[in-house]
């Protein structure tokens, strides 16, 4: 036990250092040729106004959103896997991100968010909420792995189709092209206003989800055992559903759907911290943040002027991993 705790803190420290490194790499990567020293001084002083504008208004929000969104997706993935006791659970695969994206699309393209900015995260959150409940209802309480995934596929393909429909119906000629952003996600040219808009929702979501540690440990013994240990199942359900909806909804509202992070990160970290779900929450959040920041740096390094969507890169890592996972679980289950 003692050794496990030591190892847990080493993992946390290691991941924190990784997040900090990638955060600074994200700040230093970009098409404008700003030197490292110039970039870092521009964050505090206003000697070079153009550099300061680039750093504070373009690169800083991008890096901050990378941390917020990545951590949200990693944490939500770890919680969903523990709560549903299902190794394939993930916001993207369960359709939660897709419905959140649909909510955001409705908020933006109807013009609602122009009059009332918080409508954007609120509608996305509502979309995410509906998806979690739908998937839970469709798959039942003690669901088979595949039932849950199938329910997720149904929800996400429906939400994606509705997103496409909403964008096609918009009279703006650019709207139909923007489906790429909503299905694959991007952090390009987001601003500090996006950070402020999502921050309260994401922080609340983090608090709700991280309070679940002990309950998730108990749940790993089964629902009956958990309730005999004094865990209120309805309370856990409420916390898990609303926490996920808050995190994933707000993140998707400003960055679109970014898949696979919630799936890959907990799986990579589980062997390092042991199989107790509570031990996995903090490392998964940190791991999610590092992975998203790394992907966002890579997007800018590989093709600076092409604006490759983040979802492309996370799918490149995530899809083969997912296939391997399906293969492995099939062997275990069947």
């Amino acid at each position: 036990m003692r050794r496990h705790i030591d190892r847990f803190w080493w993992v946390v420290i290691g991941l924190t250092v990784t997040v900090v490194i990638f955060f600074f790499l994200s700040l230093l990567t970009g098409p404008a040729q700003i030197s490292t020293v110039e970039a870092l001084t521009a964050l505090w002083t206003s000697e070079n106004e153009a550099a300061q504008l680039v750093m504070l208004e373009i690169r800083l929000p991008r890096a901050l959103l990378g941390v917020l969104v990545g951590a949200s997706l990693g944490l939500a993935g770890a919680v969903l896997q523990g709560y549903l006791r299902n190794p394939l659970a993930e916001p993207g695969l369960l359709g939660i991100s897709s419905t959140a994206s649909l909510g955001a699309v409705i908020a933006i393209y109807t013009g609602l968010s122009a009059f009332f900015p918080p409508a954007l995260p609120l509608l996305a959150l509502l979309g995410a909420f509906v998806a979690v409940i739908l998937v839970r209802l469709l798959a039942g309480a003690n669901s088979h792995i595949m039932t849950l995934i199938l329910a997720g596929i149904a929800v996400s393909s429906f939400a994606n189709a509705m997103t496409a429909l909403a964008l096609n119906l918009s009279p703006n000629p650019f709207a139909a092209l923007e489906i790429v952003f909503w299905l694959l996600g991007s952090l390009t040219d987001r601003s500090l206003s996006h950070v402020w808009l999502t921050l309260p929702f994401i922080i609340t979501g983090w608090l709700l989800l991280s309070s679940l540690g002990r309950a998730l440990d108990a749940l790993s013994l089964g629902e009956d055992a958990a309730s005999s240990l004094g865990i209120s199942l309805t309370r856990v359900q409420f916390l898990a559903i609303s926490g996920t909806a808050l995190c994933v909804g707000a993140a998707t509202a400003v960055c679109g759907v970014i898949g696979f992070i919630g799936l890959v990160v907990p799986h990579i970290l589980r062997p390092l911290v042991g199989h107790k779900p509570s031990q996995l929450l903090l490392p998964s959040a940190l791991g999610g943040a590092s992975l998203l920041l790394a992907a966002d740096v890579a997007v800018r390094v590989i093709a600076p002027e092409k604006d490759i969507k983040l979802g492309v890169l996370t799918a490149l890592i995530g899809a083969p991993f997912f296939l391997w996972l399906v293969f492995k679980t099939r062997r275990q289950v069947l």
Binding site: A50, V54, Y109, S113, N172, A175, L177, E178, S191
Partner: protein, 312 residues
């Protein structure tokens, strides 16, 4: 009772099947007739036209060829222009276009007009063009104009096709005169202009927009940074290079979209406190027509405003 009911159903289904077959038969015969009949008449009209140099039934399927054709065609020559020419955002000749039949770029409607020449642009629906070519129509595709020279060449080509070479020469002369007559103060250094459109796109060197900006004695930031053609331009580069003027395209729709959010980014709003933001009407420069001189005129007057306060 049961037997009679089932036999009734049988008779009913037999009858329906026969009825459906009959209807299908009629539909097929009708289709064959309508498809083949104009084909024959088309061949006939093609025969009569081979001798004559001047086309009489010209159909244009593209916003840019529409406007060139309207500028050049003789009376009665041009039959139809595309629906885009009726939209004030993109077209300079909305009123003029109302004199002609309107087509929506569909092969079927163009086919029924029995044109002797079809004018199309580079981006006109490829499938419709391929179909019309296969049906034996003469389709002339006009390349995109990347420079003032391309405009002159397209005018010449159009004049040649319509057998209106004199009118084409006249148009080119007017165009060159208009360009030469702009009085730009060349003693002041050329201000730096950045072309920045919705979705973070810009025009670098080898684009019509670049020629327009340069004709108004501006330096184009994108070509200054060695960017070529129509391409993405990261907001960061725009902010970091602090241009004197940001030239944007006009808003195409009041409906919200992310594409226009890139024009509302706080960094860009902040930059506008130093640099002017100038929305240039798309209709003057979306196509390579002589109307680009209007775009140059707008930019020249903007340049005067920019350079005036610096003079004592």
């Amino acid at each position: 009772m049961i037997r009679s009911k089932s036999s009734y159903i049988k008779v009913f289904t037999d009858k329906t099947i026969r009825l459906v077959c009959f209807c299908l038969h009629i539909v097929i015969v009708f289709c064959l007739l309508t498809v083949t009949q104009p084909l024959f008449s088309q061949e006939g009209s093609a025969d009569t036209n081979t001798g004559a140099l001047t086309p009489k039934r010209v159909v244009s399927m593209n916003l840019c060829t529409d406007q060139l054709a309207m500028l050049l065609a003789g009376p009665g020559q041009l039959l139809s222009v595309s629906n885009l020419t009726l939209e004030t955002e993109g077209s300079v000749m909305v009123e003029e276009a109302q004199k002609y039949k309107i087509n929506y770029g569909l092969a079927e409607e163009v086919f029924l007009m029995k044109p002797d020449i079809i004018l199309a642009g580079f981006y006109t629906t490829r499938s419709s063009i391929a179909l019309l070519q296969r049906l034996g129509f003469r389709v002339e595709i006009f390349p995109l104009a990347h420079s003032f020279d391309d405009i002159r060449n397209n005018i010449k080509k159009m004049g040649n096709l319509l057998n209106r070479n004199e009118r084409a020469d006249e148009l080119i002369r007017d165009f060159d005169n208009a360009l030469a007559n702009f009085k730009v103060d060349k003693t002041t250094p050329a201000p730096l202009a950045a072309l920045y459109y919705a979705n973070s796109y810009t025009s670098g060197s080898n684009t019509l927009a670049n020629d327009i900006v340069t004709a108004a004695q501006f330096k184009n930031l994108s070509s200054h940074l060695n960017l070529k053609g129509f391409r993405r331009f990261p907001l960061e580069l725009l902010i970091y290079n602090t241009p004197d003027l940001i030239v944007t395209s006009q808003k195409w729709s009041d409906a919200p979209a992310l594409a226009q959010q890139s024009l509302q980014h706080p960094a860009l709003v902040h930059l506008q406190k130093q640099s002017g933001l100038f929305p240039l009407a798309d209709k003057y420069w979306i196509c390579g027509t002589p109307f680009v001189t209007e775009a140059v005129r707008n930019l020249v007057s903007m340049r005067e405003q920019l350079t005036k306060p610096r003079q004592p």
